[in-house]
Amino acid sequence: MSQRMRNALVDTTLVGSVVLLLIFFYAPIATLVAFSFTSSRVLTLPIESFSLQWYGELFNKPDFFPAVLNSATVAAVSTIFATVLGTAGAVAWIRYRFRLQGAFRGLTFAPLLFPQLLLGVVMLLWFSVLGSWLGFSTGLVTVIIGHVVYITPFALVVVAVQVYGFDETLEDAARDAGASGWEVFREITFPLLWPGIFSAVIFSFLLSWGNFYVSYSLAGTARTLPIFVYSGIAVGSSPIYPALATVNLVPALLLVIVAEVLRRRALKRQTSGISTS
């Protein structure tokens, strides 16, 4: 009996720790969403009455939409580069053996171990020196380069997990059936890796969309959303920022919902495929 009680206690503690973590994780996010609907100018509880006025004020700010556009451009372009480079890198990491592979692995993994601020600073120095030689200054292009360097290792790791469980006999079967190299890739390799690649796309986009440190170092005078927020809250908290936070969550939420729907559909297709065969 005491053994069973002890086990029950352990189970409760473990489940409780997950619940507490989720509360910890969502406390600031929930607070922001709640305060975005207040009608008061001061951000304190209790919230007296609800209004959408801060959303109106946010949309009327002249630098808001340019910042959104910059963030979206940077995130879209960086995602494409990071996913393509990360997928190729993951295949080279896991499936191939070649000379200098150790160096390649170290080089492609190291940015993950770098504090983002230092990564940004190091690249800023390089771009500043390069810029003074070649006559350019930092801006959105350097932000994109910075994001690609920072995000590609994440994409690589996410895809590598998928490559690791790859069943290459399917490729052999396709080749035996007379498929060309490109056909094998298009019909077998790519679809099998797709779940990993898709997760890498979502990961990359959101990492870029929410990135502050790297952008802050490399943006020059350009502004992305996180920089827009940072320069605002460094001056003092204004009620438009909770509204901005809520708006900022929307693309992430949409992506996660799309991913979940696709995952469920794939799961259903898999199980129905098994039952018919």
């Binding site: 352990v10 473990l14 489940v15 720790s17 997950v18 973590l21 989720l22 910890f24 994780f25 969502y26 406390a27 600031p28 996010i29 922001l32 304190t44 990360g86 190729a88 890198g89 080279a92 896991i94 499936r95 191939y96 053996r97 070649f98 000379r99 390649f104 080089l107 190291a110 940015p111 993950l112 171990l113 770098f114 504090p115 983002q116 601020l117 230092l118 600073v121 190091v122 690249m123 120095l125 020196v129 380069i145 690609v148 360097v149 990961f203 969309w209 929410g210 440190y213 959303l225 996180p226 809250i233 460094a234 908290s237 920022y241 909770p242 901005l244 936070a245 900022n248 939420l253 996660v256």
Partner: protein, 291 residues
């Protein structure tokens, strides 16, 4: 898993490896070397002068001010490692062994929070930790005296932010090493009569070491560069190394100094990494030896 040996004459290998390698060399390795080179230059009237001397390094090593801040940064990083690992382990363990029904949903919730803009989350913490904030309001309504907590603009506030922003990393690494543990080993321990606790401490915990180490190292290295948390939640009262680096770039426009301080931080992180790797290798070497 079949592994293909490839030679550099194979165009497929060049096509997969070369683009990424070029990007990383051009925008990561070369900038790093450039930073090291810059520490041997000086500035005059806010302009870089190529002098090749040790002036900056003598300045860095002779000013105790820098080293107090460095020490504080390392201390904060170590505290952050301990706290994040203590929080992450039970969570990762619960995800790996319990909660089968809601596992995917919880994972999505954790990843979603992890990927949300760090500036906004940190701003959310201001609203919670403020003297008139959510935390004190809740405590007051639970019967505690008003304005009980005063955490905003203190090192504790900084630490809450750092733990918050970094705890997801050890959750991922520990979870990954826990799910890779062969279930048969645990069952074998039960068959041999070991209790759940004994099994945990003699089988599960030692086998989850890779995840523990890599999570701890990641948190340590990443918290060395914490900038947002000390600035926004710590109110700049006890600055960390990152603040020093920003200042030397923005206020003083002294690139060589900023570069030197960056190199000191990178070296600290690298030494920690090497120490941990050596320790982990020795541990696996001793445990693999037949008893």
């Amino acid at each position: 898993m079949r592994i293909e040996s490839k030679s550099w004459n194979d165009p497929v290998l060049v096509a997969t490896v070369a683009p990424l390698a070029v990007v990383m060399v051009a925008f990561f390795l070369v900038p790093l070397l450039m930073t090291a080179v810059l520490t041997f230059q000086t500035t005059q009237y806010y302009r870089l002068v190529w002098t090749w001397d040790l002036k900056i390094w003598t300045e860095v090593f002779s000013k105790p001010h820098y080293w107090t801040i460095m020490l504080r940064t390392v201390t904060m990083a170590l505290i952050c490692v301990v706290l994040t690992v203590l929080i992450a382990f039970p969570v990762a363990y619960a995800l790996a062994t319990r909660l089968k029904t809601f596992k995917t949903q919880i994972q999505i919730l954790i990843i979603f929070a992890f990927l949300t803009d760090a500036v906004l989350k940190t701003f959310g913490w201001i609203l919670i930790l403020d003297k008139n904030g959510v935390a004190n309001w809740l405590l007051m309504h639970l019967g505690f005296p008003p304005e009980m907590l005063n955490l905003l603009f203190t090192p504790t506030g900084t630490m809450i932010g750092m733990v918050y922003n970094l705890v997801a990393y050890p959750i991922f690494t520990i979870y990954l090493s826990l799910v890779r543990i062969d279930r048969d080993l645990v069952l074998a321990a039960y068959d041999a009569g070991a209790s759940r606790f004994r099994t945990f401490f003699e089988v599960t915990l030692p086998l989850s070491r890779p995840g523990l180490y890599s999570g701890a190292v990641l948190v340590f290295v990443l918290s060395l560069g914490a900038f947002l948390e000390p600035k926004v939640l710590g109110g700049g009262t006890s600055p960390l190394a990152s603040e020093l680096i920003r200042q030397s770039f923005e206020t003083r426009v002294n690139w060589p100094l900023g570069a030197a301080l960056t190199m000191v931080l990178i070296t600290t992180g690298a030494l920690m990494l090497a120490a941990c790797a050596a320790f982990a290798l020795r541990r696996t070497a001793t445990t693999r030896r037949p008893a």
